[in-house]
């Protein structure tokens, strides 16, 4: 749970090497700016840059080190308090640095009643405080933006969640009503299959599932349609066993089968064969569903369900998966390509 909570927190994880590099870079940029602002005709520009660099890097790296250690405990606070504490840490680091400089570099005793020393402290603390607050504010806004993006894509995914076609639901109910008298056992298993399918559809969980489970959903669906269409529906499975553990979005294959039945088999008086071909190719899972179609298909509404899957793939895989439709002379072919290796999404 701890790990899951952390990304919600607005401070980036400063223990990561990327964050440290980023901080060094920002520190150096500031050092260059300070140098250019302070350079005078008779000063050595490189010495000045060195001086600013060492001060800024010292303060920023030590603040980062402390923030890295304290981040887990800071994340329990409200954002405002966590921000204030972080700012205090930066100020403390600045203060310590100033103190060390004073004592070891200039070789004087620490004495705040000395106006020059007081000015030195106040000047540095104010600069550090201002830059620190700007940076913290930046981290905060960036995290808000990321949070909004995640929320938006979650909402989109939810809206796109596959729904059960009313046609399918009521036709299945009719089949079951008919079977209860003729063959109660078949009616029973049809009810079980239908319940499982409805449960999967109602489940708004978008976590990826093994292909094996998704194919089971598909088989349950086809077994119900098989009862309804009888001899007209035949299915030819050609599944590479090695693919069964690949993770796929729930309800990604089943709608393809539903489409093949709804727009293909069901429209043909003598029915036909739905072919399901699944194999792996260069880190991609290739799922192909082919169905026969009427030569002069009047129905052009094939797009809806497929558009929906396309968009879901886009949200989940960010352009690394795709769905291709081929309207061939006598067949309709849908090819879905899903990456088998998940990369860490930032």
């Amino acid at each position: 749970m701890e790990k899951k909570q952390l990304p919600e927190f607005f401070l980036p994880d400063f223990c990561r090497i990327q964050s440290v590099l980023m901080v060094i870079l920002i520190g150096e940029l500031l050092a260059v700016i300070f140098t250019l602002l302070n350079v005078q005709p008779n000063t050595d520009i490189w010495q000045l840059l060195g001086l600013f660099s060492i001060s800024l890097q010292w303060i920023s790296l030590s603040s980062v080190a402390i923030l890295c250690l304290l981040r887990p405990s800071l994340s329990h606070f409200k954002d405002v308090y966590a921000g204030l504490i972080s700012l205090l840490i930066i100020l403390a680091a600045t203060f310590i640095y100033c103190y060390i400089t004073l004592v070891s570099y200039y070789g004087v005793y620490f004495d705040l009643s000395n106006v020059k020393q007081l000015q030195f402290f106040i000047k540095n603390m104010v600069v550090a405080g201002l830059i620190g607050s700007v940076l913290l504010r930046y981290f905060y806004l960036q995290q808000q933006y990321r949070k909004q993006l995640t929320l938006e894509s979650a909402a989109r995914l939810e809206a796109l969640q596959a729904r059960i076609r009313p046609h399918f639901l009521f036709n299945s109910m009719n089949v079951i009503a008919s079977l209860t008298r003729i063959d109660p056992r078949k009616a029973e298993s049809a009810i079980e299959d239908l319940s499982d399918l409805i449960r999967t559809t109602l489940d708004n969980n978008n976590e990826l599932i093994p292909l094996k489970n998704e194919l089971e959903n598909g088989k349950k669906y086809l077994s119900i349609e098989g009862l309804r269409l009888g001899e007209r529906l035949k299915v030819n499975w050609q599944v590479d066993e090695n693919c069964l553990s690949v993770l796929v979005p729930p309800l990604s294959v089943q709608p393809l089968l539903e489409n093949a039945v709804y727009h293909g088999i069901q429209m043909i008086p003598d029915g036909g064969i739905v072919k399901v071909l699944i194999h792996q190719e260069d880190h991609f899972l290739i799922i192909q569903v082919v169905n026969p179609k009427l030569e002069e298909s009047l129905h052009k509404g094939n797009g809806m369900a497929l558009d929906n899957i396309s968009q879901r793939l886009e949200v989940i895989f960010k352009g690394r998966a795709n769905l291709q439709r081929d309207n061939l002379a006598k067949e309709y072919q849908v090819t879905m390509k899903i990456p088998t290796k998940l990369i860490e999404l930032d």
Partner: protein, 241 residues
């Protein structure tokens, strides 16, 4: 009372059969699997009431009903459907009887008791929301003959009738050219005030010595004249082929 049950799904047929036999119509139930079979059965068996599914392969229920209602003394038609938003809306507007699947015995009984024939106005109001027909109906002495729209080469208006020329013959129908062109605008093009031609049979244009243009058709020797008004449209179509 003779009944005809039309549905492409065996279990759906069986269910209606069971309900009907419980209502006492044991011996007079006929079955058909799609619209075309329904029309055939209508002509042969002359049922009194038809229970017909809407979504069926081959020919759907709505189109079959349209053809059947042109038979002399047509049977009453009750549609059955699992779910058809658009059709149901149209049914309600036009007071057409329908039953929702799974059908309840009491509803089925009530529907059969008050079953009455559909009229053309009701049906065309419903059908206009769907795509064009797959067949056109020619009436021959009270019976109907279906001509698949994909076989039609051209329609030509002569005096009071419209002649349909199709791959295996020709016949006279009662539709008007204007209605036919509206219904099948994606398949046909008007070449003359009195003729519309199937786009897929057009092969070219022939111009004679007097400057008249004629449309050349595959599977058809007769050349139909293209009036000057429609020439540019036909030329444009040919350039797209």
């Amino acid at each position: 009372m003779k009944l005809l049950v039309v549905d492409d799904e065996p279990l759906a047929q069986q269910r209606l059969q069971q309900l009907l036999s419980e209502l006492g119509f044991v011996s007079n139930i006929r079955l058909a699997n799609n619209g075309l079979q329904a029309i055939e059965a209508c002509q042969k068996e002359k049922p009194d009431v038809i229970l017909m599914d809407i979504r069926m392969p081959g020919m759907d229920g709505l189109e079959a009903a349209q053809h059947i209602s042109q038979i002399k003394q047509p049977p009453a038609i009750i549609f059955t459907t699992a779910y058809d938003e658009y059709a149901l809306e149209a049914f309600n507007v036009n007071a057409i009887d329908y039953l929702l699947k799974p059908v309840r015995e009491s509803n089925l009984k009530a529907a059969i008791e008050k079953a009455c024939c559909l009229n053309q106005a009701q049906l065309s109001a419903v059908k206009s929301q769907q795509q064009g027909r797959t067949n056109i109906t020619a009436k021959i002495s009270g019976n109907i003959k279906l001509v698949p729209i994909k076989d039609v080469v051209y329609f030509q208006a002569e005096l009071k009738y419209v002649t349909v020329k199709y791959l295996n013959g020709e016949t006279i129908i009662e539709d008007t050219l204007k209605d036919l062109l509206t219904e099948f605008s994606n398949l046909f093009v008007r070449v003359h005030r009195n003729a519309i031609v199937s786009k897929k049979f057009i092969t070219g244009i022939h111009r004679d010595h007097q400057g008249h243009s004629f449309v050349l058709l595959s599977h058809e020797k007769k050349q139909l004249e293209i009036s000057r008004r429609h020439l540019s449209e036909v030329k444009k179509l040919i350039s797209q082929l």
